[in-house]
């Protein structure tokens, strides 16, 4: 269990591509969404899988629970999902002691690129590289749940 503070941005250009330190492919889907939480299943590089629960409390901070599950379970659970799976390649770019996660979407959202940073506390300072675009942390159109085609989306 952890409490996460995340901020999310558009990107202006491909300046970040020279700075990639790691990449992985993600396929994820929402299994459930209630007033209190969202439940997501994620397959990484078609090799590993996790189940992820996030509380829906308002504000930037929320509780998160993540558990490794067998890959075959995750594939079966994908068939029980709400909305549609979100597929993307996630690139890691260093940001001082922190890191940018830059998601390049595939499938229905091909062309969309989002940069996200997880902060140790809500007022934490972080680098603003030249490629960083407008902040969309609180823009419901860019919530993961919205990208999965769910309404009343609570998860970022």
């Amino acid at each position: 269990m952890g409490t996460e503070i995340e901020r999310k941005f558009l990107v202006k250009d491909d300046g970040w591509r020279g700075e990639i330190t790691a990449s992985r492919h993600l396929r994820q889907a929402y299994l459930a969404q209630t007033p209190a939480l969202t439940l997501r299943v994620r397959i990484v590089d078609e090799e590993q899988a996790t189940m992820n629960l996030k509380s829906s409390q308002s504000g930037i901070a929320r509780q998160e629970f993540e558990y490794a599950i067998p890959l075959e379970d995750a594939r079966a659970l994908m068939a029980l999902a709400l909305g549609r799976p979100v597929v993307k390649r996630r690139h890691i770019v260093a940001a001082g002691a922190l890191a940018w996660e830059i998601d390049v979407f595939e499938g229905d959202h091909a062309g969309l690129i989002l940069a996200e940073i997880e902060l140790p506390h809500a007022e934490a300072d972080f680098p603003r590289p030249a490629w960083l675009g407008d902040e969309v942390t609180d823009d419901p159109r860019y919530y993961n749940a919205a990208l999965a085609g769910l309404s009343g989306a609570a998860g970022t």
Copy 2:
């Protein structure tokens, strides 16, 4: 992941109490319910915890996925539940090669006792002890989700 076939009955009397081979205390709650699945968290003897996903497909057989999770996570997740927690003591009574699970409910449902048997296939034969009452497998009033105060309950 497994496919379970369960039948559920009322009990006529306390004849089963002399046959108990094991008992444990269960506190469980629904975290989510969708057209496709239910998600439940369970705390056993206030010592161990699991997260359980069941598919909602119609009929007696359904998919089930269960994962151990940290006790402190389960306690935090209980606060995010739908409906109200169901609290009961579960007693195991041998039934030949099979076993009865006899649930003695506490709290809101004090007085209710249900006997459940998991079968290897839908037509499997099983003992019918003298204490066994009416079958309620398909009675929505006795679905676990209904006992938790959820409507449109799909989980038995």
